[in-house]
Symmetry: C2
Subunit: 244 residues, 2 copies
């Protein structure tokens, strides 16, 4: 069988890490992680929170990271992504799309135009079951919050079973999507079975806007920490795939 | 004529910017800037000085940046670069090699193995004449110094005609290579004709090690500033190629 060479659309959160995880499980050759960065501000460093963290993740993973730049206008963004993917020798693109028709349709269209496959392994998964699977694989932390019902205490919180239970309750009470699909929250993956080193936050700052019920956890300093082969914090699949 | 699609090896300094400048002048289609990042430390953020600045430059330029990661071992580095370039649809690679046989031979070898062209437009240029040309094109600042004869005052200094004159004198007195080819200094390009926005340093910190006659200018915060079409700080060729 000819190996499937793919690029994974990667923003550093739980869904793009799931896309990568799935691609590796399929035996795909993941050639590049691709991050599209939107230019919506005049200042690009430190003012766009955590913009550098995907690079730290890519290093931990050991797959080259392609950073594409786009004005951030909706349709232009799709063209810009197409231009970035067009120059890669790939047979497919893998996206973490869960329920966003907008996102999935655009990626599918670009793939069709480039004559490559489009994969969205999380597409239309049941949110609770999906989150439960993610919790068992990744070390996920909430780094952005934007919904009534989610307060400052969620910033920097690790998503574990207990947090998921609370999210389910918040879903019932306020309609918050359990997997944050409506933009309710943003996550960051600090560790995964395919990370050769885990990410440790050294200095963080919570920025909370009580008026808009939203906030971000700005990671000021972070470093990579080698994972020992015996210490398996990610459950049964953790150790087997480590290369370090 | 079929257009030549190339990747430019890009580290953000004067030589890689010259490589890019030359490639654009040839009418090459520059698909990607490629930065290889060496993993020689346990901490990757902020401790490796100015690691994020190439991304700011790539944004200013508007060409996708590919970041490859390598252990930093000499021969492994070449293999890792080959793996990064191998997945790109390119007909050639352009490098800023000036006098380093080591660097040029390795790039040539990788290109040969991949069946693509290898370009080194600055190769064996006269250092003084080369520096004079660069000064006329780019806004270059010294961000690293490591040679007896160069002191702290060079950190953050703009390389202009006067600085070049002094470098020539330091060459005569101490043997310092005028273009820093022996590792005497590291430069950073804040502006070039192909930059759509210039880079402005907001907060810098000089770190000086008097014992080893070496130091770095750590850029803590920087931002992009739109260039007006009339204000032409880069000499005659400056305004013509701006797109903003």
């Amino acid at each position: 069988m000819v190996e499937m060479r793919v690029a994974v659309l990667y923003s550093g959160g739980k869904d793009s890490n799931y896309a990568l995880y799935w691609a590796l499980e399929q035996g795909f050759e993941v050639k590049y992680l691709v991050s599209m960065v939107s230019e919506r501000e005049d200042s690009y460093m430190y003012h766009v929170p955590n913009i550098h963290l995907t690079e730290l993740q890519a290093r931990a993973i050991g797959i080259p990271l392609v950073k594409g730049f786009t004005s951030g206008e909706k349709e232009k963004e799709v063209e810009d992504m197409k231009a970035v993917l067009e120059g890669l020798k790939i047979d497919g693109v893998v996206a973490g799309a869960l329920a966003s028709e907008y996102q999935k349709k655009r990626v599918d269209k670009v793939a069709r135009e480039l004559g490559i496959e489009s994969f969205a392994p999380a597409w239309h998964r049941d949110p609770i079951e999906y989150m439960r699977e993610l919790i068992g694989i990744f070390d996920i932390v909430m780094i952005g919050v934007s919904a009534y019902g989610l307060d400052e205490s969620w910033l920097g919180r690790r998503i574990d079973e207990k947090a998921l239970e609370e999210l389910v309750k918040l879903h019932e009470k306020y309609g918050i999507h359990v997997a944050g699909e409506g933009g309710e929250f943003e996550t960051f993956v600090r560790d995964a079975p395919f990370f050769k080193a885990r990410i440790v936050f050294d200095e963080v700052e919570k920025k909370w806007d009580g008026f808009n019920y939203s906030g971000v956890l700005e990671v000021k300093r972070a470093h990579l920490e080698r994972k020992s082969k015996n210490k398996n914090r990610n459950g049964p699949i953790g150790g087997a795939q480590m290369k370090s």
